[in-house]
């Protein structure tokens, strides 16, 4: 159980970053964002997304417009704001640093025992 918890925490940590990364390439519908995150196995259930997207929007990192749909209710179409784009750049750097740090720790050679 604890292992699942730790894994979930790791994924939760990168979730915001992944949302920005998805939107950096193209503006997307909410359901498309969810679909891509599911395919990449970053999320299993959709619930986490909704409060996250709304908070990012309220923080000025994302914006959306409504698009009418013939198949159902109107849908939100999200895109990154300028503030969101610079946020993403910061997270890119942060991610690279993190990857470097973990690599360093994993690959560090053991210091040989001193011969008496």
């Amino acid at each position: 159980m604890n292992l699942d918890n730790t894994k979930a925490q790791m994924k939760k940590g990168v979730l915001e970053y992944c949302i920005f990364a998805i939107l950096s390439k193209d503006s997307r519908y909410t359901s498309d964002i969810i679909q891509e995150l599911k395919e990449a196995k970053v999320i299993v259930v959709e619930g986490t997304l909704y409060p996250l997207l709304t908070r990012q929007k309220n923080a000025g990192l994302l914006s959306y417009r409504w698009e009418e749909s013939t198949q159902g209710p109107p849908r939100k179409y999200y895109e990154l704001t300028d503030k969101g784009k610079s946020f993403l750049k910061e997270l890119d750097n942060s991610w690279n640093d993190l990857v470097k740090a973990v690599s360093l720790i994993r690959n560090k050679k053991q210091t040989p025992e001193k011969q008496k």
Binding site: E46, P51, L53, T54, N58, P73, R75, K76
Partner: protein
């Protein structure tokens, strides 16, 4: 035959079974309680309802025109339980509320799993959180004393619905209806069956 009602979910009208409606309402209420900021919560709940409406729409066909309990349970699996919606900074306040208040939306059902006759006493005891033996003794006394106990029992047997689905059983116990609780309930049942069969 069941009663069905019409609901407006995210701007779309659906026909939904009465019991499915109650489960959906319990779920949405629990999700809503995860968010403390009123303004934000309205927007988030609207998004969620629209999404659930989308998912329901996919299940309605020419041959199946009503949303059932199974549909609602499937949707809960897809969306996730309240702990998935948990807020980051505000997660601690939610956990505090859990400690002080009853954890879930509580309904009175008949309990088919721990019944002697119809599960009337078990179900009612679960609602009031008392030991079923108390109600059973009262009913026996009322039956022996005046015979009215039997009539009351039969009326309750007819009127109280049986808790069939996992979500209903959780409602009966006042437990949160979410994915992990439903999973726990299945596991407990599986272990009970194993025990009874001495596997």
């Amino acid at each position: 035959m069941k009663r069905a009602i019409s609901i407006n979910l995210g701007g779309i009208v659906f026909n939904i079974d009465d019991d499915a409606y109650r489960e959906l309402q319990a779920y949405l209420t629990q999700i809503e309680s995860c968010f403390s900021d009123r303004e934000e919560s309205k927007e988030i709940m609207n998004d969620i309802e629209v999404r659930i409406a989308e998912l329901f729409n996919e299940r309605i066909t020419d041959y199946k025109k009503v949303i059932t309990s199974k549909d609602v349970n499937d949707i809960i699996d897809v969306m996730g339980g309240p702990e998935q919606f948990g807020e980051t900074e505000k997660e601690s306040t939610y956990k505090q509320r859990e400690r002080f208040g009853p954890s879930g939306y509580r309904r009175m059902y008949r309990d088919p799993d721990s019944r002697i006759l119809g599960g009337v006493c078990s179900g009612m005891s679960a609602y009031w959180r008392i030991d079923p033996i108390i109600l059973r003794i009262l009913f026996v006394i009322a039956f022996l004393g005046f015979g009215t106990g039997l009539i009351i029992y039969i009326i309750l047997w007819i009127v109280l619905p049986e808790a069939k689905t996992k979500a209903q059983k959780l409602e009966m116990m006042g437990e949160k209806v979410n994915v992990s609780n439903i999973g726990k309930a299945f596991k407990e049942e599986f272990n009970n069956v194993k025990k009874n069969m001495n596997l």
